[in-house]
Subunit: 381 residues, 4 copies
């Protein structure tokens, strides 16, 4: 089959690779109809990871069940399904607690958590391809309504819609609250959108790219341009000096210093400590890593960051971190899409055939021509 | 009346000061029968704060209602009461949410939260004295059973028993879980004791003072001597390599480096990140401050600490911080004492008359002669 | 001052009564600008309670602080405030837990809970009047933005908006869930509206009055006309046979039998047991009473109803009951109104001067001329 | 193999039946070493169900994995495991929410929930036998420490320890609270024991059998003999007139009238409404059924019971019902046993070889010779 293969930094290609096959009775094979390129794919693309050449990329996958293993109970050939980016077993201690992003079974490295097509996340080829093997399929496939409707909404259930929602869940966003979301990329916009779906009274979105801020405004959030000055100050000014009840970090360790001229990995965390009012909470779905070879200083290379712990403690803040447990949210979010109550697809900028992947990676990486969220369609021509 | 007054670093005295009086209709005056010296009093004693000479110390207070303001509803002369160290109004946004440690009303400085006898926590003289004025008395007085029984247990409801319990609450300690508590001082022991009361299956307590570790063992915890090597490693070895479900930092910013020869303010936090298993949670009642003039480096002086954010995120940990909201727990903990289900008084080392305060401060500060937790008795001779 | 006084069954009048005055240092006097007639006022109006002639009615009150007691901290003359229908102290065990509808302090009868202008709910005259005395004013007054904007939305914070929301809270309505609300009167509509604000994916509203069902449709709910047949069956048909995740009873003990010809007090409860899927939950803000002299049979007269406990248990349902703890929700709901995220005033049918009260009670009781929710304006002429 | 077979009312026998075998790749076969007789087995034994002759009984099963299906990941031959009485899939909507007692997959009848050896709970033979087939084995087997220690404690993890704990969970029992448990049979004692493990300050246990009340006292609960008068009154007298915070119904629909001379199916529920204070909560693990052919009146035959809904609502009580989701608790409770923090085996009265089953059923049913909880040992002779 054809698949998007990582060859070397800044070089992916659509190549022929062996078809996946049922390896274990709980597997299914899914024919992919939609698969997204994720911002986190760019970490590999840019060569800032230890990903080896040859890996098939893609962890945001939707398609049709093509073949079913002998141990699978609830799925049939022809079912339309979307898979969380996390591969999970469903029966370990963490999966039982709903923390499927930290499955103790699926990653032979001993690391808690697995994913498709991602370095160090286990032996699971990605879905930017014609077919995908899904292990523990009863657990990992979420059924969708038959047909092809809302494909651009449903495919976001694989990662960014639940990841944005997870930011709100980590922060405990409740009806009537005020929320500050840092970052108006796809995940940040999904976090802001989720906050509004959960009944937040006011949601601020901090970024400096005018197009992103415009998107934030469109969905009903208040854009805050940090190039115009201290975002915590701007938000306090708009909240009677109080700050917000909750904050979401949708940026992570590649945050820029306020001046915008170099990375300052804890700058968003520290700005959030200033933004959120005493007793508030922070949700941190934005990625931080324990080893970052590209970091500017020795501490940051080991994931050690200078954080305003004193101020954080004095305010009595709570902080929730970690990658999303997609399975915990995808059913409810699917139902919101099906009933017309959520249309997350507004963040999608391009739908392209699989063969366009090399160009799409390049333009998305350079943030040119409006590439913000790309869906690849392996069955398109 | 007589009261313990801070005069200058390493110098407190029992002096005559004016009697407190009803200043507002919601006040009561309490005749103090038991009042503790707290580890946090030593910050002032050692001159590491901006406390001015003349302040009356003491925020762990128990006594008998002596006089009642005209707006008070539920209290009468003669009632035996214990007061949370936090002064709180009961009706602001934070108090309504149970976050009485962050009251928005009582501190004229604009800071969220008030306390008796403490620098920067509002204009409330302390209770190491014969009498104490208690504002918003219906809210701030917890009634106790008549008499004088269990005085050494009940007085701990003012601060350290709820503060230790708060560490467990911040970490979400649930029945059957494993917990690591760093620090076996009074608060750490109360945290370990609380974890066991909540049904933890195993509680590790990390310290290096043999007497403290012995106390931990007495209450059913597993002592871990960090002078014998890497505590996170010791705990992982005793949990099948997994680490604990939860962790509590009962040390704070004056943590020592593992070698024990100098302060390393984030060392406990970072050790906890290593100790707790992926998906776990940390409760941090241990004090961190945004300004520490005595810190060893410029960053620490501003409360900026080097924290293993990368590892913390990768593990998906949650962190809860901040001083205890005593009011949220003191009623239930009182009932556990009254029914004989809790006897926190095991941490008390000395009960002394008020006049012994200068000696008690000195010996407690030097940790000599077994001074670990002192109750002063203003009515003793 | 002028006030709406209950004289005898089906007879209320606007009469001169003594002005309220500060009786306790924590009191304020509020000049009423908006005060609603509640469906529960009709219980007294119809003579189905033990209310004595002379009682001043009105528990949904909004106005301007006119006079402030000496113990009040956070309010000033001129502040615009809305009061929960519950009178509560703020410091008893139940108030501390946020259960202000069950205050243990304010009702001398020993009953848990107090209210303005309501039989058996304590000595608190109602606010269908020019002025109202508010006890424990710091706790019981919710400040509103200055001015007169959104008066018809804000006044609903006194009761029916939080009461509808409370139904959702009791049922634990979460984002993405399906909900069935029985009753499309003001409280039922507020419950449906709240469910949608909380992110429910689909909300069914059961009634048989076409105008009410039309209102339900307008706000985005699915109307279910029970005169057209078994509502549980209709809802199961629209949920793939499954039933809803959650249910809200906004009808109570005066429920009609399905045929609509006589009262059958447990009919809504039992229909909800059939409507909600296994593991679901019911929120029951709808009133049930332990003594109903007007009931059709001896058991019902004592509040003993025939309930499908066997089916309820087999499905593992959870049930939450009781009048709303308005204080727990009113701040957040206020903020949703202020920010334009909620406009509950859509249920208001009439705004009338106080003198119109006798006619308004009569027409509202008879459900004629579109009287569904009336606001009285004591300052109008 | 030999197994306990139901033949007709009051007649079970140990018979030869076919050995179970792997039927599906996710199955394992367990060699049973301990299996209990449950009070709910007596419903079938007494002929009060539609159980057909030939059914193999037994849903409280512990043993050693003997054979492993090809889809099983985490289990090996020789593993010691205990199985929840619920058979569950691990991936349906209810299992994902932790509500494994209401699995939507395993019961072909369409009913939510499955069990071993129980009428109407699916095609799963029981474990009062030499071997047991366990479907979805990765999900349904809980690993135990190797060896044979604490067998009488661990086997209770299959049902009654988690079921008693579930009663506390349904009622939300929290540290420091007071709890009333109705019924001092094995489940009631486990509920009281669990309440104490969770930190309850005082636990009342209501029964009238002196031996049972003595057991309650032994574990630290307060026995209340209802033959000595109104239990709600007795408990209110011991709680300052207030009643308890929480209540657990461990009796169910076969409750006796206070006089003790006939069944009155809602008598415990209604007594709990009287026992628990306003704002309290009830946990109802005690069985209620929608069809009871043996009931005294027509309503009860359909599970329609006369309940004090008026009083329940006025008090604002919450009620949680349904059979236990054992999987949700068994891991933590296992860890409490392993660490010596819980020893539920104190309720076990007899350990007998499998052949003793007919006598054990008879004596347990008649409550003679101290038969309260019997463990059958298929490998004993």
């Amino acid at each position: 089959m054809r698949a998007v293969v990582y060859r070397k930094p800044f070089d992916v290609a659509v190549e022929e690779v062996p078809d996946p096959r049922i390896e274990q009775p709980n597997d299914v094979i899914v024919r992919i109809t939609s698969t997204c390129i994720c911002g986190s794919d760019l970490h590999m693309y840019e060569g800032r990871t230890t990903a080896e050449p040859g890996i098939v990329l893609g962890h945001e996958n939707l398609g049709i069940v093509e073949e079913v293993g002998g141990g699978v109970t609830a799925l049939e050939e022809g079912d339309r399904v979307v898979m969380p980016f996390n591969v999970a077993c469903g029966f370990c201690k963490n999966c039982l607690a709903g923390l499927t992003g930290f499955c103790l079974t699926v990653n032979p490295s001993g690391f808690a958590g697995g994913a498709y097509g991602y370095v160090a996340m286990g032996p699971y080829p990605g879905g930017q391809a014609e077919y995908l093997r899904v292990p523990f399929a009863d657990f990992n496939c979420l059924p969708l309504p038959e047909g092809t409707e809302h494909e651009a909404d449903y495919v976001l259930l694989a990662d960014i819609f639940p990841t944005g929602y997870h930011g709100c869940e980590l922060a405990g966003v409740a009806p009537g609250e005020t929320v500050a979301v840092y970052g108006a990329g796809p995940v940040g916009l999904m976090a802001a959108y989720s906050a509004l779906l959960r009944g937040a009274s006011r949601v601020f979105v901090v970024d400096r790219v005018p197009e992103r801020l415009a998107k934030a405004r469109e969905i009903g959030a208040v854009p805050v341009d940090f190039s115009a000055g201290d975002p915590a100050g701007q938000i306090r000014d708009q909240t009677g000096g109080e700050g917000t009840d909750k904050g979401v970090d949708a940026v992570g360790y590649q945050a820029m210093a306020p001046a915008g001229d170099h990375e300052e990995p804890a700058s968003v965390l520290n700005e959030l400590v200033r933004t959120v009012r005493p007793t508030g909470a922070l949700g941190v779905p934005g990625l931080y890593v324990p080893a970052d070879p590209g970091a500017a200083d020795e501490n940051a290379r080991h994931g050690m960051l200078l954080v305003a712990i004193g101020a954080l403690f004095e305010k009595g803040l709570r902080v929730g971190t970690g990658q999303a447990n997609v399975k915990r949210y995808n059913r409810q979010l699917r139902d919101m899409i099906t009933e017309g109550r959520a249309r997350p697809g507004f963040v999608v900028s391009h739908e392209l055939p699989l063969d366009a992947a090399p160009v799409a990676y390049q333009k998305f990486d350079q943030r040119v021509d409006g590439y913000t969220k790309v869906i690849l369609k392996p069955d398109a021509t």
